[in-house]
């Protein structure tokens, strides 16, 4: 490692509580934005969110219908695979549990899902990491409607995993029996992505 004399880089909170910082991360008060493609601008009147099992449509909501589902607010830390962590981010949306209920499902029909998004982005998740309050489809950040650049009108939020799993511009949840790689996972990001075990890449233990 060749250290560059005098280089500090973007402000990083050195005095952050160690226990809140996953290994290899730096804390920022900025909002890091990593994008795999052009920002999607979906008009609200065209927006729907759907749940599917194979060819079968289990449920679908228009923006208006989605807005009438139970709203939950959370404050949580987020961790980007680019090594930036941001503490105490505030979100509002519909939890995955409430989506299952609204779809008339007592439980998830499968163990895994693939999230499908405008622009073609996908990411895979175990259902176990979405239920019991662990995840939501978020529509508001810091009390304001989610801007398109941050995934608005709605993004998946799964804060206990690396933030690439919190898929922007989510439009569909496809239930699957098997776990298979989404967009970044198929290139070599870790299939699961636990920041506390530093599971950034395929092959990380």
């Amino acid at each position: 490692m060749v250290v560059t004399r005098g280089f500090r880089g973007r402000p990083r909170q050195d005095n952050a509580t160690r226990s809140r910082v996953p290994p290899g991360q730096y804390v920022t008060s900025d909002f890091p934005v990593l994008t795999a493609g052009p920002t999607q601008h979906t008009p609200i009147e065209d927006w729907t969110l759907s749940m599917q099992l194979g060819d079968q449509l289990l449920a679908t909501w228009s923006w208006r219908e989605f807005g009438m589902l139970p709203q939950t607010e959370i404050t949580t830390d987020i961790h980007c695979v680019t090594k930036w962590s941001k503490f105490d981010t505030r979100w509002r949306g519909v939890t995955f549990d409430d989506l299952l209920r609204a779809a008339g499902l007592d439980a998830s029909p499968t163990a895994f899902v693939m999230a499908h998004c405008d622009g073609g982005y996908t990411t895979n998740l175990p259902v176990a990491d979405l239920i019991a309050g662990k995840a939501m489809v978020a529509t508001h950040f810091d009390d304001l409607p989610l801007p398109a650049s941050h995934g608005g009108p709605a993004r998946l939020l799964v804060p206990h995993l690396y933030f690439w799993k919190s898929a922007k511009w989510i439009r569909g949840i496809a239930f699957r029996d098997h776990d298979g790689p989404g967009f970044w996972e198929s290139l070599g990001y870790h299939l699961y992505g636990d920041p506390w075990r530093e599971q950034r890449y395929d092959g990380d233990p």
Partner: protein
């Protein structure tokens, strides 16, 4: 400033790709696997980060090339390109 201002082009990917190839990648001509339009790699739209690059077709936005640098490997995905032509040195 709208967020599209942040997009660079394939020229910026040349350093990372250059560590993989003996030839100059910015001169390579890429044919999009989705729409069939060909153009210099340098003209592809670049997304992602220096470690995780996504190069998209300027005409249809389809992914043509992806590159990921992990601690152990450099992963290259050319599946979105129908063909990549590299000119021989004169």
């Amino acid at each position: 400033m709208n967020d599209d201002d942040m997009v660079l082009d394939g020229n910026a990917a040349a350093g990372a790709l250059g560590s993989l190839f003996a030839f100059d990648v910015t001169m390579a001509v890429v044919r999009c696997g989705n729409c069939g339009v060909s153009g210099p790699l340098a003209e592809l739209r670049l997304f992602g980060s220096p470690q995780a690059m996504v190069l998209r077709c300027r005409h249809c936005d389809a992914v043509n090339i992806r590159l990921l640098e992990t601690g152990r490997t450099i992963n290259l995905d050319l599946a979105g390109s129908a063909r990549i032509e590299i000119g021989r040195a004169a």
